[in-house]
């Protein structure tokens, strides 16, 4: 009889090879105790955290912690129900109003995770006669949303408005609605979407535009509203989706829009309807973290300064880092055989980053993915850079200084 698990044999072999090459399972790292937003105990050692997406350090926000404690004390620790049944408390509606006001939009929907926000919005909006146009490097939640929808799904070349335009023009479907989905900052590479050019394609072709600002919310734009704000094209964006689990340091997802039909999406959106809503303490902490973010625009400036410091350090050292400075900085290595020992050595020397292996990387090369925080000190960034140099030298990763 066929085993249910025979399909995992290839995976088991691949994981075994990764563990054998480095001595530990990179996908089972335990942060034994967070000391601060930038330091955690891993394997009993104080470790610099350079892979947590906690861009503004707000997972440790005093204001958010106090708000969570107060909400748990007064409202309990869970809602035990769906948003469309018993799972909406006043706090949920308050947070939706707060998010909508922050983005200057008519309304907001709050989801239990960022993954569900993409899954829910894409699958609810795109029906079987519609077309979805996805950037080739889209996050798994966008691809999964497209599979849950009944729509025709077309990929266009990563960050290429020209390729998107060509593929839209190729569609001979005047009676179908078209929804373009892009991300503000791409999570693996740190690439930033050319939003003004995408907006121009949207205007010319009459398509709808959704932007996932998961990694750019709180990071890009004068007020932190993301890549669309940074390029002045928010009016062209029909739907902004995002997450609370990066710059706000909690968990949950959202969609904001000016379309009044958002109210109907609530009743046509399975990942919103068929799951329990976020617990009161998370909702309260998220609202407080958003207040922190608005009150401290200097966090965003510090974040970009820190990103520039880390990026410049990689460039002068001769590692192959992304060309554009963003809070996600991916160091690309040529082979998995280089990446696994180097990632392990970094951890042993006291720096945690994310190891990303193909096919989860865009061009079949492995990445050491770093994310920078506003709360990193200059000394911590220098220390991380020194450890990167040591690990690269010990692992035989070639350094090519001044190669732009």
């Amino acid at each position: 009889m066929t085993s249910l698990f025979s399909k995992f044999e290839g995976l088991a072999g691949a994981l075994g090879a990764v563990v054998a090459a480095g001595g530990r399972n990179p996908f089972a790292v335990v942060i034994e105790k967070p000391i601060s937003s930038t330091v955690g105990i891993i394997e009993g050692r104080e470790t610099l955290l350079f892979g947590t997406n906690n861009y503004l350090g707000l997972s440790q926000s005093e204001r958010a912690i106090k708000a969570a404690q107060a909400a748990a004390a007064t409202c309990g620790v869970g809602t035990t129900g769906s948003r469309i049944a018993n799972g909406t408390q006043s706090l949920h509606r308050q947070l939706e109003r707060q998010i909508a006001d922050f983005f200057k939009r008519r309304d907001a929907m709050v989801f239990s995770t960022g993954y569900q926000a993409n899954l829910g919005m894409i699958s609810a909006l795109a029906g079987k006669d519609d077309y979805l146009l996805l950037d080739a490097d889209s996050h798994a939640s966008i691809y999964d949303g497209s599979r849950l929808s009944a729509a025709q799904v077309i990929r266009f070349r990563h960050n290429s408005p020209d390729d998107l335009y060509k593929r839209l023009k190729r569609l001979d479907a005047p009676n179908s609605a078209k929804l373009i989905v892009v991300e503000g900052i791409y999570s693996m590479t740190g690439n930033v979407a050319p939003m003004a050019e995408f907006a121009a394609v949207k205007r010319e072709t009459g398509a709808y535009l959704m932007v996932d600002e998961a990694h750019s919310f709180g990071v890009l734009g004068e007020h932190g509203r993301g890549a669309a704000e940074a390029e002045g094209v928010e009016a062209d964006v029909d739907f902004v989706v995002g997450t609370f689990s990066k710059s706000l340091g909690t968990v949950g997802g959202y969609c904001v829009s000016d379309h009044p039909e958002l109210e109907l999406v609530r009743l046509n959106c399975r990942p919103y309807m068929f799951t329990a809503s976020l617990p009161p303490e998370v909702i309260a902490a998220t609202g407080a973290a958003l207040e922190d973010m608005v009150a401290q625009p200097e966090l965003r400036r510090q974040l970009m300064d820190n990103a520039a410091q880390l990026h410049a350090g990689f460039m002068s050292m001769g590692l192959n880092a992304s060309t554009r400075v963003s809070p996600v900085i991916a160091v690309t290595l040529e082979t998995v055989e280089q990446a696994i020992p180097m990632w392990n050595r970094l951890l042993e020397l006291g720096v945690y980053v994310n190891l990303s292996l193909p096919p989860a990387t865009p061009d079949s090369r492995p990445l050491l993915r770093c994310s920078v925080m506003a709360t990193h000190t200059a000394a911590q960034i220098d220390q991380a850079l020194a450890i990167f140099r040591q690990a690269a030298e010990e692992c035989g990763v070639p350094l090519q200084p001044n190669k732009a």
Binding site: Q152, R167, R170, S364
Partner: protein, 83 residues
């Protein structure tokens, strides 16, 4: 211009052979993922190249049913005839 399954299949094989990692002895019956050792991302990227050569878009949901080079060719011919 009228493509046939044979002509599209030949074009796909020609494009595949441009990649030195692809075995030299492939034919239309080769399974794209198993025989060519393409992962899911490599398949989607390769299909994008074929789309541009033939000025056609293959929706991702159609890829789920495609195993062999000839399956891909037949799907493309079908899409072109509808267009």
């Amino acid at each position: 211009m009228s493509e046939t399954v044979e002509s599209v299949s030949a074009l796909i094989i020609q494009k595949l052979l441009a990649n030195p990692k692809v075995p030299r002895d492939i034919d239309g019956n080769c399974k794209i993922m198993e025989d060519l050792a393409f992962d899911s991302l490599a398949v989607m990227n390769f299909v994008m190249e074929v789309e541009d050569s033939l000025d056609v878009s293959v929706p991702l949901d159609k890829l789920a049913d495609i195993r062999t080079i000839n399956d891909l060719a037949a799907c493309i011919v079908d899409l072109k005839n509808k267009g």
